[in-house]
Structure formats: structure tokens, C-alpha cells
């Protein structure tokens, strides 16, 4: 799968299928600080991302 990340902007490849929660663990990200978006849809932590999918892992934290 293709994973798009921000801050800095980059794309990485991961082997799928994989649960969203496992992607967070693999990337060592705290779920509370991100959303996972496939197409225009949000994904919950129990959902499976297929190997052919592209997802965005979007940070939600701003400087305030």
C-alpha cells in the first residue's frame, strides 16, 4: 500500500493487507494525533487497508 504522510510531506510503501491500528504501531504514531483517510473517507482503527490501497495519514495537531 502507499501511505502519504505530512510534516514533512512524503510517501512510503507498506505491505498490505493491514489493520489501521497496526499501521499506527508500525509507523510509531499515536492514533490520537492522526486521522487515516482513504479516498475521501475516514477509516477507524479496526478497518483493513488492502495492499493496493492508497491512504493518507493526516496529522491533526497544530501549533495553537
Amino acid at each position: 500500500m502507499n501511505v502519504h504522510l505530512s510534516h514533512p510531506t512524503r510517501d512510503i510503501a507498506l505491505q498490505g493487507p493491514k489493520r489501521v491500528a497496526d499501521i499506527f504501531k508500525e509507523l510509531q504514531l499515536i492514533p490520537e494525533a492522526f486521522l487515516v483517510i482513504r479516498g475521501q473517507d475516514l477509516m477507524t482503527e479496526d478497518e483493513i487497508v488492502a495492499d493496493e490501497d492508497t491512504i493518507e495519514v493526516r496529522p491533526v495537531i497544530s501549533g495553537g
Binding site: 510534516h7 490520537e32 494525533a33 475516514l42 491533526v60 495537531i61 497544530s62
Partner: protein
């Protein structure tokens, strides 16, 4: 994961509430929380004119959208800070939202730029360098000043900002770690127009986390600027937010309990104190000798900053 309310496919789990929502139920939940915040904290009424401070980010555009959807009389103010690239992109997001969503509701966008204030085509970073202050500090002074000035001069009843639960919990942590008691006293979702020259200030998103607001924005197709301000890199607030999110992961509801607990203590303290915030402001604030906005010093921090910048450019 299924929506706890309607059993459709959920789009967001909310561990702090031990629940999950689909898109429409999340939208309803967020708008209800904002309504509750407005009511509980006595922020404003449907007759009031509200000015929302917008940056192009998720919080401020979401706040603008929610207040419009709830039928409030709301306009918006954007302050351009002259940050190369970033300011152009954030301005574009705000203009697009104004055009695509707000104008149809009769809502107006007001634009102010820091270059106009500095009078020399200067951005906030250059201004901060000139006066040897951290960029975020100079930026905060400019924004607070402009938001208050525009709201007051244009007779808005209240000024609203998109500060959320994460912002308030992180700010509280910073204030407690440094025992800044004078700041603790002023950390409230509603600040009264305590003296002539001050607008009432409110934070209607204080009950929502950043993640819930971002999810609302995605579900409702609010096109916001995802990129972070380049000047925020290394900011203390981001460190405090990261620490709180690590605690939240271990114990959902930590941020909520931390800030709610503080508000409860603040309320009890206000009930037993002989001096309200308005009393204190009225006894300590005087009009700035240059611009007339309230200040504890003879000249307010904004006018001092601008005077120093002008001296430095001579």
C-alpha cells in the same frame, strides 16, 4: 466498528467517550457540543454579532461553518502574517471558504495584513527578528491586538476563536508547569468585555479535541490547510500536546479530565472570591497612550513592538 447511535459504519472512534460515530452522527455530536459550550459558558445569543478569527486551518474554518449552520450572525477576520508561501496558501483557503460557503449565508470576510501594520512590507518573522523576539510571541501579540481592535471598532458583540480542548489542555499544562498564576486566572472559554476597548472573547470548540474537529472537517468537506505554520516548528505547545496525547493513549479522557477539573476549580474559586476578573481588569488596565486599547503598561505591547520595529529599520 459501528456507530453507537445508528449502527451504520463508523468513521471515528472516540475512546474518551467509549463510543464511535458515523459521519452524520459525528456531525450532530460536534454541533451539539458547540451549542452546549455556547449555552453553558454564556458565550452569545442568536441576536449577537460574532466575529470569528480565521487562519485557514481546520479549527477556525470548522468554527465558522458550525456557527453558520447553527444560524448565528457571524463574520470572519483573517490576519495575513506575511509568512512566505504559507500565508498565501492559508489566505486562499479562507477566501475559497468565504466564496463557496459563507457568502451564501450573508457572512462577510474581513482581511487585515501585518505588512500594513508594520508599514514597511514586513512579515511577522522579519518583524520578530528586528525586535529580537520569538516569532510565535510577536505573532500572538499581533493577532490578539488585531482581533480585538477589529471586533471592537466594528461593534461586534463577541469575538470567537477556534481554540479546542487540546489547545486549552496544553496551555494549562504549560501554565501549571511554570506556575503562571496570572495566566491561569485568564484561561477561560469566555472572557468578558471587562473594560472599555476590550471585546468579549469566546472559545466555542473547547469541548472538542483536535482529532474530533479534523474528522468533522473531513466528513463535511471543509477544505482546510493541512500544513503546519513553518514558524511553529519546535514550539513548546507542540511538545505539551504530544505529552498529553501520550497520556491520552494510555488513559482515554485525560485531557478532558485535566481541563474540566481546572474549570471546576476556577468556578469554585470565582464563587468564593470578592474580586471578579472584571474588577481586577478595571483596577489594573488603562487606555494605551498611543492606540487607546487597554493595557497594564502606559503603552501596550503591540504599540511598543511596532515602535521598536520602526526604530530598528531607521
Amino acid at each position: 466498528m459501528r456507530c453507537r447511535k445508528c449502527s451504520n459504519r463508523a468513521v471515528l472512534g472516540l475512546p474518551r467517550h467509549n463510543t464511535a460515530y458515523c459521519g452524520p452522527c459525528l456531525t450532530e455530536f460536534v454541533r451539539t457540543q458547540v451549542q452546549k459550550a455556547i449555552k453553558v459558558q454564556r458565550m452569545f445569543s442568536p441576536e449577537d454579532r460574532i466575529l470569528v478569527a480565521v487562519s485557514g486551518g481546520k479549527d477556525s474554518l470548522t468554527l465558522w461553518e458550525i456557527l453558520l449552520k447553527l444560524g448565528y450572525r457571524v463574520d470572519a477576520l483573517y490576519v495575513g502574517l506575511g509568512i512566505p508561501g504559507y500565508s498565501e496558501r492559508s489566505h486562499e483557503k479562507v477566501e475559497r471558504f468565504a466564496h463557496d460557503v459563507a457568502e451564501a449565508c450573508g457572512s462577510q470576510l474581513i482581511i487585515q495584513t501585518v505588512e500594513e501594520d508594520a508599514g514597511a512590507g514586513t512579515g511577522v518573522k522579519e518583524l520578530a527578528n528586528l525586535i529580537k523576539r520569538p516569532t510565535c510571541s510577536a505573532c500572538g501579540t499581533i493577532k490578539r491586538y488585531q482581533f480585538n481592535r477589529v471586533a471592537y471598532q466594528n461593534n461586534y458583540d463577541v469575538m470567537a476563536t477556534g481554540h479546542n480542548l487540546d489547545d486549552e489542555a496544553a496551555r494549562l499544562l504549560g501554565n501549571v508547569l511554570n506556575w503562571q498564576e496570572e495566566y491561569l486566572q485568564k484561561q477561560s472559554p469566555t472572557l468578558p468585555a471587562s473594560v472599555e476597548g476590550f471585546s468579549k472573547k469566546v472559545k466555542p470548540l473547547y469541548r472538542m479535541t483536535e482529532r474530533e474537529i479534523a474528522a468533522y472537517a473531513v466528513v463535511n468537506r471543509i477544505d482546510y490547510l493541512v500544513e503546519e505554520c513553518p514558524n511553529a516548528k519546535g514550539a513548546k505547545m507542540l511538545v505539551y500536546k504530544d505529552v498529553l496525547n501520550r497520556l491520552e493513549a494510555e488513559s482515554p479522557g485525560t485531557k478532558h479530565r485535566f481541563y474540566w477539573g481546572f474549570l471546576e476549580k476556577q468556578k469554585k474559586s470565582a464563587n468564593t472570591s470578592n474580586h471578579s476578573m472584571t474588577d481586577i481588569d478595571q483596577s489594573t488596565l488603562l487606555p494605551c497612550e498611543t492606540c487607546s486599547q487597554p493595557t497594564t503598561a502606559g503603552i501596550c505591547s503591540f504599540c511598543r513592538m511596532m515602535a521598536r520595529a520602526k526604530t530598528a529599520t531607521r
